[in-house]
C-alpha cells in the first residue's frame, strides 16, 4: 500500500486538508475571541493528522461518527467549509440551519452521521450504522471517533462489545490526547495503552502515533480492510495532543506550559511537510502554495458564511418531527 506522502497529488490533498482544519479552527478561535461567535467550541488544533489520516483511509460511501471536537473529522470527510462555518455563525445556510452549532454538524448524505455533544454518544450509533450496512449486504465501514475520556463511558463498552460479537464493520478510533477535559489519562486509566482494552472484547487493538498522518492512515487502512472483509471491528488508539484549552473557558491549570510546548514542537502538519520535502515529493514552493490555498479556502468560507442570512426562528415547532412521506 502506498503512503499518503508517496505521490504529489495525494500529498497535496493531505496537506491541504490538514491546513484547512488548522485554518478553520484558527478562524473560529479568532471569531470567538472577537465576540462574533456564540456558544462554545472545542478546537482540535494539533490533532489534524489523526482526523486526516483516518478519513483518508475511507471511501466516500463509508461513514463516520464524530465528537464535540469534530471540525477536523468533518473537513477530512469532505464537508463543505462554507456550510460548516455558516453553522457556527448561526446561519440559515449552515449544515443544521443554525439549530445544532459546532457540536452537531453532520452530513448524513456524505456519510458524516454527526458530531455529538455527548461524550461517547456516537459510539453506539456507529455500531448501529455498521449493523445496518451488514444487514444491507453492503461493504461499507464506519469509523467512530471518540476521545480518551469517552473510553470510560459505559456507551463505549457496550458498543464495542456489540460490534465484536456481531463482527460489525466498525473502526473504533480513540483519539487519545492525554486529557478528558482536565483529567489526565494517567489518572483516568490504570493501563498504559487504551488499545489494550481491545483484549476484553476479543478484537485487535493498535496504538499509533496520531501525529504521523501516514502512520495513522496505514493503521486505519488495515482496520478498514479487516472490517470490509467481514472480520469485524478494530480498536485504534491514535496518540495526539490538543494545543488549545478544552473549550473557551479553559485556564490550562491541569497541565504545564512545557508539556504544551513540547507537543507544539511535534506539529503534525510541519512533520508531514518536512517528510515530503525530504522525500522529494513536494518542494517548499508547492508547500507554501498549499498553505496559502487552505488559508484562502477558509477566508472564502468565512466571507460567504458571514454574508448568509441568519437562522430563522419562525418554524421551530414544525421542525421537531420529520413529516410523514410514504
Amino acid at each position: 500500500m502506498s503512503k499518503l506522502g508517496d505521490d504529489a497529488t495525494t500529498a497535496t490533498r493531505t496537506l491541504r486538508t490538514m491546513w484547512q482544519i488548522r485554518r478553520f479552527e484558527e478562524a473560529v478561535d479568532d471569531l470567538f475571541a472577537r465576540g462574533l461567535m456564540h456558544g462554545t467550541m472545542h478546537l482540535s488544533i494539533g490533532q489534524e493528522a489523526s482526523a486526516t489520516g483516518t478519513c483518508f483511509a475511507l471511501r466516500d460511501d463509508d461513514a463516520i461518527t464524530s465528537t464535540h471536537r469534530g471540525h477536523g473529522h468533518c473537513i477530512a470527510k469532505g464537508a463543505d467549509l462554507e456550510r460548516m462555518m455558516a453553522e457556527l455563525l448561526a446561519k440559515e445556510t449552515g449544515y443544521c440551519r443554525g439549530r445544532g452549532g459546532s457540536m452537531h454538524i453532520a452530513d448524513v448524505a456524505t456519510g458524516n452521521l454527526g458530531a455529538n455533544g455527548i461524550v461517547a454518544g456516537g459510539i453506539p450509533i456507529a455500531a448501529g450504522a455498521g449493523l445496518a450496512y451488514q444487514l444491507q449486504g453492503l461493504d461499507r465501514v464506519v469509523v467512530s471517533f471518540f476521545g480518551d475520556g469517552a473510553a470510560n463511558e459505559g456507551a463505549f463498552h457496550e458498543a464495542v462489545n456489540l460490534a465484536a460479537i456481531w463482527k460489525l464493520p466498525v473502526i473504533f478510533l480513540c483519539e487519545n490526547n492525554k486529557y478528558g477535559m482536565s483529567f489526565s489519562t494517567e489518572k483516568s486509566f490504570a493501563i498504559e495503552n487504551i488499545a489494550d482494552r481491545a483484549v476484553g472484547y476479543g478484537i485487535p487493538g493498535v496504538t499509533v502515533d496520531g501525529n504521523d498522518v501516514e502512520a495513522v492512515n496505514e493503521v486505519v487502512a488495515a482496520a478498514v480492510e479487516r472490517a470490509r472483509n467481514g472480520e469485524g471491528p478494530t480498536l485504534v488508539e491514535s496518540v495526539t495532543y490538543r494545543w488549545k484549552g478544552h473549550s473557551k473557558s479553559d485556564k490550562n491549570l491541569y497541565r504545564t506550559k512545557e508539556e504544551i510546548s513540547e507537543w507544539r514542537d511535534r506539529d503534525p502538519i510541519i512533520r508531514f511537510e518536512r517528510s515530503v520535502v525530504e522525500r522529494g515529493v513536494l518542494d517548499q514552493a508547492a508547500i507554501d502554495a498549499v498553505r496559502a490555498q487552505a488559508t484562502e479556502d477558509i477566508r472564502t468560507a468565512v466571507r460567504a458564511a458571514n454574508a448568509a442570512p441568519d437562522a430563522r426562528p419562525d418554524d421551530l415547532l414544525e421542525a421537531v418531527f420529520a413529516p410523514a412521506t410514504a
Binding site: C96, G100, H104, A129, L162, A319, A322, A324
Partner: protein
C-alpha cells in the same frame, strides 16, 4: 387505514378475537414481511420468545438476523438502533421492562429524539422502542414503573400507550411507519387480555384520541390498563345511574386534546386516571389543557386526578394493589365528583 376503534376490548361481534400479545406480534410480522428494512432486536426476544412471550415464534419465522438477540446492554442496543435508523433501517427495539429505559436515556432522549431537529432536518431516526410498563406482577419497584410522563415531556419523541389489542397492533404499525422515534409503552397486564382485531386490521393513526364510551355525567380520561378498569367502573356506575365517558388518549405525545375538551365541556366533570404516581404525571397535562381552555367555564366540580400513590411499587400483593388505582377507587372517585357538584 382503519377507523378509530371505539369498542371496549372483549366484545366479539367484530370478528376475530386475539390477545394483545398476539396483536403486537402480528404487527411485527406484517411489518417485517412488508419491509426488508424492519428488524427487531432486544434481550431474549429470539429463541426464548421474549420475557413476556411477545415475539414468540418470530425468530423461527424471520431468522436470527432480523429477530436479533442482544447482550444485556440497553444503552448500546438503543444506540445501535439509532445508528441503524440513520443508515436506512427501521429497527424495533424491545426493552425488556420499561424501567430499563433508564439505562438508555441518553440514546433515547439526547440522541434519537433530538437528531432530526438538531441537524436542521437533514436526518431522520425512524425507530421504535417497545417497552412493557406497569405494576401488578409482583416484580417490585425496579420492574413495575410507569414512566410515560418522562417520555411525553421530551420534544421529538412520540409516545404511545395502547389499551386494546386492536390498538396494540394498529398503533405499532403506525409507529414503525413513522419517520420519527416512537416509544410504545405496552402494559404487562394487558398482554394476556383479548380483544377484537378484525382480519387484516391495519394501522391506527398516531395522535388520535379514542372515545371508548360516551356518557352524560363525568368524563373519565385514562391510559393503559386504566382504560379497561375505567370501563369496568363505568358499568358499575351506570347501575347507580351515573353515566360516564371513558376517553383514551392513546398517543400521549403529540396529544390530541380536542375530544377530551369537548367531552368535559359537555359533562362538566373530569376524572383523570393513571397508574403512575400523581406528582407531575401525565394527567396533570390533561388537567392543565382543560383549565387553559374554555372548558374551564363548564366545570361543575373541581377536576379530580386519581393516580398511583407517590411511592415506589411495593412487592407484597396487598401493598401493590393499594399503590395504584383499582376499579373500586375509580367508582368512588366518580361518585364523589358527582357529590361535589
Amino acid at each position: 387505514m382503519t377507523a378509530t376503534p371505539t369498542a371496549p376490548a372483549g366484545t366479539t361481534d367484530q370478528g376475530r378475537v386475539i390477545t394483545y400479545s398476539e396483536a403486537v406480534r402480528e404487527a411485527l410480522a406484517e411489518a417485517m414481511s412488508a419491509d426488508e428494512r424492519v428488524f427487531v432486536l432486544g434481550e431474549d426476544i429470539g429463541v426464548y420468545g421474549g420475557a413476556f412471550g411477545v415475539t414468540g415464534d418470530l425468530y423461527h419465522r424471520f431468522g436470527a438476523e432480523r429477530v436479533r438477540d442482544t447482550p444485556i446492554s440497553e444503552l448500546g442496543i438503543v444506540g445501535a438502533a439509532v445508528g441503524a435508523a440513520l443508515a436506512g433501517m427501521r429497527p424495533v427495539v424491545e426493552i425488556q421492562f420499561s424501567d430499563f429505559t433508564c439505562q438508555a436515556m441518553d440514546q433515547i432522549v439526547n440522541q434519537a429524539a433530538k437528531i432530526h431537529f438538531m441537524l436542521g432536518g437533514a436526518a431522520e431516526v425512524p425507530m421504535v422502542l417497545r417497552a412493557p410498563l406497569g405494576s401488578g406482577t409482583g416484580a417490585a419497584a425496579q420492574h413495575s414503573q410507569s414512566l410515560e410522563a418522562w417520555f411525553a415531556h421530551v420534544p421529538g419523541l412520540k409516545v404511545v400507550m395502547p389499551a386494546t389489542a386492536e390498538d396494540a397492533k394498529g398503533l405499532l404499525l403506525s409507529a414503525i411507519d413513522d419517520p420519527n422515534p416512537v416509544i410504545v409503552l405496552e402494559h404487562k397486564l394487558l398482554y394476556r387480555t383479548s380483544g377484537p382485531v378484525p382480519e387484516g386490521a391495519g394501522r391506527v393513526p398516531l395522535g388520535k384520541t379514542a372515545v371508548r364510551r360516551r356518557g352524560r355525567d363525568v368524563t373519565i380520561v385514562a391510559t393503559g390498563v386504566m382504560v379497561q378498569r375505567s370501563l369496568e367502573a363505568a358499568e358499575r356506575l351506570a347501575a347507580d345511574g351515573i353515566d360516564v365517558s371513558v376517553i383514551d388518549p392513546r398517543t400521549l405525545s403529540p396529544l390530541d386534546d380536542a375530544p377530551i375538551l369537548e367531552d368535559v365541556s359537555r359533562t362538566g366533570r373530569a376524572l383523570l386516571v393513571q397508574e403512575a404516581p400523581g406528582h407531575v404525571g401525565f394527567t396533570a397535562e390533561i388537567a392543565s389543557r382543560i383549565v387553559e381552555s374554555p372548558a374551564i367555564y363548564r366545570l361543575l366540580a373541581p377536576i379530580r386526578r386519581l393516580s398511583g400513590l407517590d411511592v415506589p411499587i411495593p412487592y407484597a400483593p396487598q401493598l401493590e394493589t393499594a399503590a395504584v388505582p383499582q376499579v373500586d377507587g375509580i367508582v368512588d372517585a366518580a361518585r364523589s365528583l358527582m357529590k361535589d357538584s
